[in-house]
């Protein structure tokens, strides 16, 4: 008989021994089941959070600096389009896009919805990298003449016309109280651009949005890009200096504007999602560790309970190694079954979370990770009881009742 089929036989013996006490075997492996499932789910949650952040900031460039008015109520900011010449005069600035934003009711003959209106300059289209289903962006003439033209974001088009690509160029639509002419439908983009979601906004010339829709109720901000990441800090300090001068703010007086470095924002968001993932991963590992200790405990009990059996096996010729292998096989089977049940449960939990709207993305390598950790823990903790069983003296073991 070959060595190979010998181990198959030994494996079968281990299996029989576990099957003779199914409930206890299940309890033994419960920790492994929960641990394996936790690792898979945690990795999927981490990946979901990561993808979510990536999507949110996908249109952001690391060279972007956002300039807002201060959030404190009452303090009037002087931030306005009048600052543009001074900002563009800074040598390290590649572009500056003004945005006046606010909620507006959008209505057609058939439909009404509330979305963001963004009053901006023609360079927005290039800076935000917009592409179009139909038509295009407005131009400088529209801005100069405060023409009532509008470009619809994909979600807005879908909400109002039922499709992302409605044949409505040249038709009019009511923004607030004024009729605007639709000149462009933007393609679906996903993610945000500064403070706004592109797909959930409509775009008009800055001058028109101020005059006809938002007036002083709009929130004003700039989206400024530095020429490179290295020039970011220099650009930020230049911006602060220039804007203080423009707004005639005395020394030691707080600024009426705020700068936000998007690169740092993205990095910190990614960092916190990673921290979260590591934290959850640690929880999974601890659960597995406890599971492993569970296996060890029950296997120690098993070894004591089966002392007599081990004695019989040794008396009729089992070597230490045979006993060791049998108990290791039992640990292996417990771990393997625990891993399988854990994996299947995790798939169930995954779909439940998905249906609850939790952002979760399954990653195949989590199976490998949980496999490696589960088996390392299971075999590590299975080894000591197995070693103890193998080292039993046959005479003492036989006498044991």
């Amino acid at each position: 008989m070959t060595k190979y089929s010998f181990y198959i036989k030994l494996f079968r013996l281990s299996w029989q021994s576990l099957r003779s006490n199914v409930f206890r075997s299940f309890l033994t492996t419960l920790g492994i089941i929960i641990g394996a499932a936790t690792i898979i789910i945690v990795v999927a949650l981490g990946e979901g959070a990561k993808r979510d952040i990536e999507a949110q900031y996908s249109n952001m460039s690391v060279t972007t600096i956002l300039i807002n008015g201060p959030s404190t109520e009452g303090s009037q900011s002087k931030l306005s389009v009048d600052d543009i010449p001074a900002i563009q005069a800074i040598s390290t600035v590649s572009d500056a896009v003004p945005m006046l934003t606010g909620k507006v009711n959008i209505s057609t003959a058939n439909n009404t919805a509330s979305f963001n209106v963004v009053g901006t300059y023609p360079n927005f289209s290039d800076v935000a990298n917009l592409t179009y289903e139909r038509g295009g962006f407005f131009d400088q003439t529209d801005e100069d003449d405060h023409t009532k033209v509008v470009i619809l974001g994909a979600t807005v088009a879908e909400e109002i016309y039922g499709t992302r690509n409605p044949d409505v160029l040249g038709q009019s639509i009511v923004l607030g109280k004024k009729e605007f002419e639709i000149v462009g439908i933007a393609k679906y983009k996903g993610g945000a651009f500064g403070p706004i979601s592109i797909d959930e906004s409509v775009f008009t010339p800055y001058s028109s949005s101020y005059r006809y829709i938002l007036g002083k109720n709009g929130k004003f901000s700039f989206n400024v890009n530095a020429q490179s990441v290295d020039l970011l800090e220099e650009t930020m300090s230049s911006l602060t200096k220039v804007l203080r001068e423009e707004h005639k703010i005395a020394a030691n007086t707080p600024e009426d504007f705020k700068l936000k470095d998007m690169g740092a924002t993205v990095a910190s968001a990614q960092g916190s999602s990673q921290t979260m993932a590591i934290l959850l991963g640690a929880v999974g590992f601890i659960v597995l560790l406890v599971g492993g200790i569970g296996i060890m405990n029950i296997m120690y009990v098993t070894v004591s309970e089966r002392t007599k059996e081990i004695g019989i096996r040794k008396a009729i010729g089992a070597k230490d190694n045979h006993v060791l292998t049998q108990f290791l096989f039992e640990a292996f089977i417990l771990t393997g079954v625990g891993y399988l049940i854990g994996t299947i449960s995790s798939i169930g939990i995954y779909f439940i979370l998905l249906s609850l709207g939790v952002k979760i993305v399954f990653v195949w390598w989590s199976l490998v990770l949980s496999f490696i950790i589960t088996f390392t823990v299971g075999m590590f903790f299975g080894y000591y009881p197995a070693k103890k069983a193998a080292a039993l003296d046959p005479i003492d073991a036989l006498r044991y009742e």
Partner: protein, 224 residues
């Protein structure tokens, strides 16, 4: 031809460096095909001698030879092989493994010798009259049936000799008689060498020779 030869075998236990001698010099020979009874009061060293002959324990001094093979001074793995291949054990309390079927229990020693032989296990079970109980667990059998299974198991690896430790001690007298008949037939019909420990002089009379052990010495040898 001797199957078992013990020459000046001594065994002592040491507790805190104090020597407690149990066997004080045993000389014993069992020839092939012999059926020998070992008798003696408790405390005589009977169990210790049995453990040494059974390869479960090692002597402190002296030589133990099974069929020209020197057994004293073997490693514990080598002793496991001796127990597996040279010796068939029959215990007072049967010592079957409760989670395994009758057939698995009988085949188990062949399994550790690396030569799994279920066919022979079946033959042996039918020889002891249990061919209809192959898949039963030990707790589904009567005491007599369990001892029959143990006898079948002791024969699976075709051992040099059978070591029976009070084989009828846990059985009622009628069942005990049946089991004794079976053991006697192992010698008579199959030519097996048997060493049996017993308290019962009536059982001892069924053997070829009785050895008495007292205070660590063999005191009397009597031909029946």
């Amino acid at each position: 031809m001797p199957v078992i030869t013990l020459t000046s075998v001594k065994k002592s236990y040491f507790i805190k460096n104090i020597e407690y001698p149990i066997l004080k010099g045993i000389n014993l020979t069992v020839n092939k095909g012999e059926f020998v009874a070992l008798m003696g009061p408790s405390g005589s060293g009977k169990s210790t001698l049995l453990n040494i002959i059974g390869g479960l324990d090692k002597s402190t001094e002296g030589k133990y030879i099974i069929n020209e093979k020197l057994v004293s001074n073997l490693s514990s793995d080598e002793l496991a092989d001796i127990r597996n291949i040279y010796i068939g054990f029959i215990f007072q309390n049967f010592n079957l493994i409760p989670t395994l079927s009758t057939l698995d229990n009988v085949a188990l020693p062949s399994f550790y010798s690396g030569d799994v032989n279920y066919k022979k296990a079946e033959e042996l079970l039918s020889m002891v009259g249990l061919s209809d109980r192959l898949s039963n667990k030990p707790n589904e059998l009567s005491g007599g049936q369990r001892q029959r299974v143990a006898i079948a198991r002791s024969l699976i690896n075709d051992p040099e000799f059978i070591l029976a430790d009070e084989p009828t001690g846990n059985l009622d007298s009628k069942t005990g008689e049946e089991i004794m008949k079976l053991i006697v037939s192992l010698k008579k019909d199959y030519g097996k060498t048997i060493l049996m420990v017993t308290h019962d002089p009536h059982l001892a009379k069924l053997t070829d020779r009785i050895i008495y052990l007292k205070d660590g010495y063999i005191t009397k040898k009597k031909n029946v």
